[in-house]
Symmetry: C2
Subunit: 377 residues, 2 copies
DNA sequence: CAACCGATCTATACCGGTACAGTAACTCCG
DNA sequence: CGGAGTTACTGTACCGGTATAGATCGGTTG
């Protein structure tokens, strides 16, 4: 029963000037009790008589004592009250993407009631600082970034509870991710159901040379992209069709539009499964340039159901990812990982059972960018 | 000269099992030197001979010592390496808004090279925890939220360096914000220049009753909204025209569309200055419903230049806020406030000069949602 | 030759709390 | 009336570092 109740002084902080810092000791001496009793007055009210507690709190307020110093408390208790989140190298980039920003918000919101704050961990080192090594945190989320990174390695070495999001987890750690493969399958199957027979996959491959890919069944480096690809290829192959695939380097406007032009440049497919809504929007843009009617002549499926999916004309048929559910799942997994570590502490098993893999479901949202293939009833 | 260099062991962490925690002491005893020397080996390399340092680092690596414990270091040094950001009550909401998400990203990115991590501070209390009081941080950004909040009050009492963003600052603290008023003026002036004479202001007023406002010159509660309103009213009045104003409760889709319908319902204005791009988009949507042509019959100006400004058809004329510049300015102001406090420390003046008010410039971006008023050359 | 110096390393005293194991007084019960 | 159980508080030992002021020593310097 840990019930902290701080007095909120009505007036000014009364900070007795000149007097050094006000600590437990200061208050203890003023009241004439031991340091420990003052500490308890703030952190464990049931450990002392109500009237003494009252007196202590009062004196503390007069002296300008604000309550336990967070840093000191963190050291003594062994827990900080914050968890880290490792995103990409460019935090700015991560937050420009509405999907990842929303995910982050959902994480923070889910964590808020537990009293945990969320700290962004810059992946890169800053001079001699490396946040993943130097920042006091109780655990961390590793999101959609290279697992081999120095930062991730440090988090691991520190023995922190970790949860991997949209990423292959290191062995022994929990993982939360979309059911990407199912998403890819749903997207492709939707086009198949509409009677399309020439379906192209438009995705990213940061490492490979951009352009048409010889073998769409070959793995991609980017895990997420690969899963979506695999799902689509599965569905297309199962329908007895041959998939085509064109990749670009990165999921941004600069790469997407040229890629989309190339996609439609030669013998244009009648259906496109895209890695993202942004890329799907680029395909629609390229189609407009080439006077290809969407959805009459070309059906386009996106992925994510980002805001742009609705903003674009025609509205994008897409695979909705419930970023809120993903954020919640990730936050909850992390909280329980932290709790588990606290339990076992020096207990025998660190995280042996923790091979949790949580798949967040996806859903097909049909809007106006897809229609039955020509020549189909 | 603080040059931390940690050994990154190639292999496994070699964590000597069973052995309790590995601390400075462990390493010191193993090497046969004092604790302090080991500490220096990690934190102040120039304080000991290179070869001894080498030996210490080696032994440390063997023992599985990871370097100074962040929490302990934070206590001893009096600085944590993280700053807080207070946003709205709903973090999720804040990150759903691309503008505030991008701002946050810019802050994080600017701070990254300084080694500071960014912690989100949930404004609401969680049980007995209140992040603003309990989280170890070196300073904080207070963004677009009620300054009277309990959280803000705690940050102040803790004596932390603070910077207020998009907000009136508490006395003595720095403030960073857009030049909102100028933005409002630019938006309205643009319509005036196009010959519009019936210009309506479409904005938010969380506290008031939604609907047409009798006196557009009366102050709004929301500071940002009020500044933009004031700017627009200034320009319109200066042109010898009478402004009209309609408010809605909140800047979201649920409120914006009905509000926009009402705006155009009766005698529709020929020009609208909106509080945000989202609301401007809603106006365009409502205009389409009512078969009012934009921009031929109705000119609409947004605010923010959020992604939706480009996504919508016709492209939105809007006031661009450089969220990157704003984020950078806020981050820099905070960093210097932290530095200043560290300097003065127990020095005489806490932040007397710090009445900095940094105005981030805005800019009119003309797209296709505005045109000359009918009957104008 | 004594005083002085910089380069290295050590000793001590915090930083500001919390955990845990008492201790003393007071109640309850057979 | 003796022992078990509470309640209310205190003492001590950390948590794991860092700052600061010495101590030690070979080498200068006037």
């Amino acid at each position: 029963m840990e019930t902290v109740t701080h007095l909120v002084a009505a007036g000014a902080p009364e900070e007795a000037v000149g007097m050094g810092r006000v600590t437990l000791k200061t208050v203890a001496e003023a009241v004439g009790v031991s340091r420990m009793t003052v500490s308890n007055a703030f952190s464990k009210p049931d450990q002392l008589s109500p009237d003494l507690r009252e007196r202590i709190l009062e004196t503390a307020a007069e002296l300008g004592y604000l309550g336990p110093d967070p840093a000191a408390r963190a050291l003594a208790r062994g827990s900080v009250g914050a968890v880290g989140v490792v995103l990409t190298d460019s935090l700015e980039g991560a937050f420009l993407d509405p999907v990842s920003a929303a995910f982050f918000g959902a994480v923070a919101d889910t964590l808020a009631p537990t009293g945990l704050a969320v700290s962004l961990i810059p992946a890169a080192r800053a001079g001699d600082h490396l946040a993943a090594r130097d920042l006091p945190i109780d655990g961390a989320l590793v999101c959609a970034c290279d697992v081999g990174q120095e930062s991730v390695e440090w988090l691991r070495r520190r023995g922190l509870p970790l949860v991997f999001v949209d990423n292959e987890a290191l062995p022994g750690y929990a993982r939360v991710g979309l059911d990407e493969r199912e998403g890819g399958r749903l997207a492709a199957q939707h086009l198949i159901d509409l009677g399309h027979t020439d379906i192209a996959i438009f995705t990213i491959d940061p490492s490979g040379a951009p352009g048409w890919v010889d073998d769409p069944t070959a793995r991609l480096v980017n895990t997420v992209a690969d899963e979506r690809r695999a799902g689509a290829v599965e569905a297309i192959s199962a329908a007895g069709l041959m998939p085509r695939m064109l990749t670009i380097e990165d999921n941004d406007e600069a790469h997407a539009l040229p890629g989309a032009r190339e996609l439609l440049g030669g013998a244009a497919p009648t259906g496109v499964v895209s890695f993202s809504d942004d890329m799907a929007a680029a395909v629609i843009g390229a189609a407009r340039e080439a006077s290809i009617a969407v959805p009459a002549e070309l059906s386009v499926v996106g992925f994510d159901d980002a805001p742009i999916a609705r903003a674009v004309t025609p509205g994008l048929t897409t695979i909705r990812q419930d970023f809120r559910a993903k954020g919640r799942a990730a936050a909850e997994a992390l909280v329980s990982a932290i709790a588990a570590q606290r339990e076992s502490d020096d207990g025998p098993v660190p995280a042996a059972d923790g091979e949790h893999r949580i798949a967040v479901p996806v859903e097909l949202v049909v809007r106006d960018s897809t229609a039955a293939a020509r020549g189909t009833t």
